[in-house]
Symmetry: C2
Subunit: 311 residues, 2 copies
Amino acid sequence: MELLFLGTSAGRPVQGRNVTAAALLLPQERGVWLFDCGEGTQHQLMRAGVKLTKLQQIFITHMHGDHTFGLPGLLSTRSSLGTEEPLRLYGPSGLRDWVQRTLALTDTRLGYALEITEVRPGAIYEDERLRVVTDTLEHRVACYGYRIEEKPQRGRLKAELLQGLGVPFGPLYGQLKEGQDVQLPDGLLIRSDDVTEPARSGRIVTILGDTRPCANAVRLAQGADLVVHEATFDAALEDKALAYGHSTTVQAAHTASEAGARRLLLTHFSARFTEADMAQLAEEARALFPATETASDFAVVAVRHANRADA
Amino acid sequence: MELLFLGTSAGRPVQGRNVTAAALLLPQERGVWLFDCGEGTQHQLMRAGVKLTKLQQIFITHMHGDHTFGLPGLLSTRSSLGTEEPLRLYGPSGLRDWVQRTLALTDTRLGYALEITEVRPGAIYEDERLRVVTDTLEHRVACYGYRIEEKPQRGRLKAELLQGLGVPFGPLYGQLKEGQDVQLPDGLLIRSDDVTEPARSGRIVTILGDTRPCANAVRLAQGADLVVHEATFDAALEDKALAYGHSTTVQAAHTASEAGARRLLLTHFSARFTEADMAQLAEEARALFPATETASDFAVVAVRHANRADA
């Protein structure tokens, strides 16, 4: 599971940073989920070599243009590439109206089913492996954060031990891996728990939209392996952050710290900041939450388990 | 007067070619006019070093997304750059509704007046130096072509001759340049026509939207110094061009030839064509209209007078 940053600038694009979008690349080629879709997101995906045909779901945090204006073009291009796979689009109230009117007024016909869900707080998606929970944040318009929870995974089989016990390769391995105890032809009972590594807890990624510091942000980020938090302003501009419904570096760090998160990626930087400012922005946050980095366009961040470095 | 191509791909962006837009750079820093605004046009302008604060007018040929999806972001960024200069936006019916709803639904507030005109055939703009005429084309949706006519300019003063006649530098020069005859203190009558170069006719640039070959395209391009014409397909795909309301290379050349135009720039190439195909596409058109080139992103084309190479 990797997070690919496609845009890390607030409000408008600047040289080297596009407006907001990030792609969650799921393991084992299980597809791509997109979080926000500023103008030019389809261009960034093309540059990064991520095929739009793999895109399965899009989550929009709020309706501001720097998070949405890339949607119509991306939806259209995904269609013109010929895929007929349905696409699910989640976001705030108003999203359906805007997308449907835009497609109609521009005579854009999609060759796949577009399922639009206007979200409310709670669980909004669940499959065998993942669950997505959303809640409201505090911005100038309705805004949501998304928490992606991987379900606990059964541990790996202890292959050497199984060989030593004489378990033949084949269906028995699958049964043991699934948690079933099995009996060998010679009567030996093999308990699944004895031959599998401990179950590992699932990973948690929290991607927050634009927000002032708030309790819901902390709750969404609780124990997360990776938190993506806006840091539109530096610590000196806390008054501006408050006025515009944004956060500073230090406020983002405070939220991550309160939540007991493991790693913080700052993004959505005001256009006033240049590459030369990034070290200082990171430092401000690290004073409170050491595991902080500033995101940059095309950065790929691996989402690691709390207890393993190689996941 | 120069035309800067910002996007030359049809339907969707491809590596090295964005969707449609072109900027007319007016002489003497008189500003920039934009023709169509596919997604990413603001990014292309930024890369080309053209400031959005100089943008005065936008002309949209038709509502298809590859000609319009860059508008909301561009309008928003022009505002966030702080300019309060009004912006005029021209285009087909439906444009006002879409732009206004999009800005409202995304809570985008512009710090300048946006004047939207839904055009009808005829003259839609006129100032001291330029006039813009539009007419309908034949596409799957309502589509317009734009003809930009420079008004005739009085010829330059013959400076050496004036010196020889003893005309003192100053206001008299201005009067002569404006076409007034003047009398010197010694009684000598200087006729304006005798001391100015012949008036030069204004330049004409015609920028056509997506279209099948049609009489209006020929009329709009009549005697133009530069015609920008779509060539979505090559000559072999004439059936597709007909089916989708587009033109082939050869059809574009035929229109330019019928119109007695001086120069043809082909653009809006189907994503099926790569850079390697461009020579062939140009050749197909040149067989009928030799002064043909294929446009590429960031190409700057000077609009020259019929009778002068340096204009």
